[in-house]
Symmetry: C2
Subunit: 413 residues, 2 copies
């Protein structure tokens, strides 16, 4: 971590942000690992805030993941504490104690109970995270919380992300205009051991926790769960969605996330989650190209997703993209290897909108010229039709370059 | 493919080879893709030769894989034809016709039927393989077959492997000394699209085909199926084992591969398969270090194998090895992500024989010094005990270096 990494060539400027009624937040330099930058973020939510969460499926999750999972069933949140630089993973009893002490100190400041305080950590695995570093910094951080602290917070949760990531949407809900705003960090794994994708989203809508959870789970499935940089799932991945209720809309009459009255909110939420997820791919370690993979004609959506992720995870596909090589044979290989139903003789493969191969062989008179031109761009589109059914999915990945090796092959210290 | 690749730093010299009674073979330059080198291999087997085979699980297999699968149930082989430079994959009807024409031409030369001719191809995916290139070259190749053609054959099946791969064993079977000898190529994917692992093994033992198949399947499961370079399974992988019967041993009385009378042969076969499989890893694209991964304490051997392969496939583990970084947190990550039963609090991780972490946290007083020294070597050993059961597995992988990107990111032409 000697030199700051150059900003990703795929970086986007931070969009215009604003307040979300019922949320005050800020960041401070607590000296957890980095010098000269903020690394501790606190958000305070109005009483009555509901919460939904989605967590890593890792069998070796970090202590903060365990903490959040345990308190989530109550569906209430008053505060969120996030630190960067130490993931508090594989830290045993000490890790659990750090969570408890952090939550208790935060609860005292925000006048709530510890089980209303959500925690997240990102950074090195296997090193003890001293609670004092956090609890000592919390009072000054609390005093400076503000409705306009979003950009500071988005920067404070970065590890070696090369740009801050946030997005904003509005939607109509129960006749009232509500706001949804969120931030994300990673998942570059941009410095060794910094293997974490975190995202925090807040809305001022009135939404009961079960409904919130249902919408978040569905949205994450189509967005964050459809991105890959290198197939290595973190121990600390987490997406939290808080609803403060400050907008004062009438609570939805339906308990179903599919209800028409929720359509506008859901669309805005999904769109925001997708924007954040794509920002993470745009900051993928060493990434120079963004790959969009559409799979259609699968036996199910789930099967299509697995095929799309197999293409997005294939080192050979990713190195071909890096080399601007329209190497469609590697896409065939990736489809073939992933174990999902596929039939060589009904498969078709397109790159950049040009159908290259179908019915088990290359198309008659295939002209590579427009595909070669497409490969030189920053955004690469791959489409595979399996010709078997109606299942479809879209996934996003990035190329695999020397930058990835440089970033991840260097020694931690 | 402009410049020949430098020989892998992990290369081994070709061991001493000799004849296998009942096998004559050779290689010729047929001009399929490469210039100035052999690229077509023919082996002829004595009448009565039995055969066993294991093939890629790809859903998009090459035409030669389909061909061999279709004729394998008869269990008889008289010839093997292998070409390098074109994989005959995703070539539709033309690919099937090339297989038929090659098999018929070979059958005419060797006075057998086409369904006793085994075929394998390795090289570019998606380009038509003209049968004439092969059938034109076959007569001269047939005339030059010899019992001592093994090294020529091992070189003739290389694509851009950086060294030829072969191994030899003897065993006692039915009171007779029998020989097992084999060759392999790849699986460096050392040039783009050259994504194939092929291995051909012959013995002079008398062994019925079902028994041969049973022993080969078991042996491959513990050897070739336990290696990974980059997780990308080829469309053309194939291991064939031929038994000519020329040794004249009494046929085994038992039909079970587990019979004690077969123990010596099985041990020799497994050892030979392991040697060949490790040669493939030693020629992994860009490899500078050989990684041996032992997983114990899993709920089953199958589960242990999945965990071992997840570690061996993890780009973050592989880049850490390349960087000589004893980054055990990434091993924890890989165990956690793979979906197999694991419990952070019973997990222990060792590198180079030094236990680093156990019971959910780093060991008290862990001294990294000997582990750092181990990481500087060419052979890295990783051991994970899951603490759950008796399941165990060993897998092998290599590091992920700039060489991999160089080799696979360059344009095909």
């Amino acid at each position: 971590m000697a030199q700051p990494l150059p900003v990703s060539p795929l970086a986007l400027p931070l969009p215009a942000l604003g307040p979300v009624r019922g949320v005050r937040l800020g960041a401070i330099a607590a000296g957890i690992r980095y010098k000269g930058r903020t690394d501790l973020v606190l958000a305070e939510f109005d009483p009555g805030t509901t919460v939904a969460g989605v967590f890593t499926r890792s069998k070796c999750p970090g202590a903060p993941v365990d903490w959040c999972r345990a308190i989530l069933p109550a569906g209430r949140a008053r505060a969120l504490v996030v630190n960067a630089g130490n993931a508090n993973v594989f830290t045993g009893r000490a890790g659990r104690e750090t969570c408890e002490q952090t939550a208790q100190a935060t609860a005292a400041l925000t006048r709530c109970t510890a089980d209303e305080v959500y925690l997240a950590s990102t950074g090195v695995i296997g090193e003890i995270l001293p609670a004092e570093r956090i609890t000592t910094a919390l009072p000054a951080l609390y005093d400076a919380l503000s409705e306009t602290g979003w950009e500071a917070a988005a920067r404070g949760i970065m590890t070696t992300d090369t740009f801050p990531k946030a997005a904003r949407r509005t939607a109509m809900l129960g006749g009232v205009k509500v706001t949804i705003q969120g931030m994300a960090k990673g998942s570059g794994m941009i410095a060794p051991d910094m293997a974490t994708m975190l995202s925090f989203v807040a809305t001022d809508a009135v939404l009961p926790a079960p409904l919130l959870q249902s919408m978040l789970s569905a949205g994450v499935k189509r967005t964050f769960n459809c991105i890959t940089v290198d197939s290595d799932t973190s121990t600390s991945d987490m997406v939290l969605l808080f609803a403060t209720g400050a907008a004062g809309n009438a609570p939805p009459a339906s308990a179903s996330a599919d209800a028409p009255e929720l359509a506008d909110f859901r669309q805005a939420l999904d769109s925001l989650l997708e924007e954040l997820a794509l920002m993470v791919i745009r900051d993928g370690e060493g990434a120079t190209k963004l790959m969009t993979i559409d799979v259609t004609g699968a036996v199910s959506d789930e099967s299509a997703w697995r095929v799309a992720m197999a293409i997005g995870n294939s080192p050979l596909v990713k190195t071909a993209i890096a080399g601007e090589d329209a190497n469609w044979g590697r896409i065939v290989m990736a489809v073939g290897k992933c174990g999902e139903p596929a039939d060589r003789d009904t498969l078709s493969v397109s790159i950049g909108g040009v159908c290259i191969a179908q019915n088990g062989t290359v198309r008659d008179g295939y002209d590579e010229t427009p595909v070669v031109a497409h490969m030189k761009g920053q955004e690469i589109s791959i489409a595979v039709d399996l010709g078997l059914g109606e299942g479809r999915a879209r996934a996003w990945s990035c190329d695999l370059t020397h930058g990835y090796i440089d970033i991840n092959g260097s020694y931690r210290s």
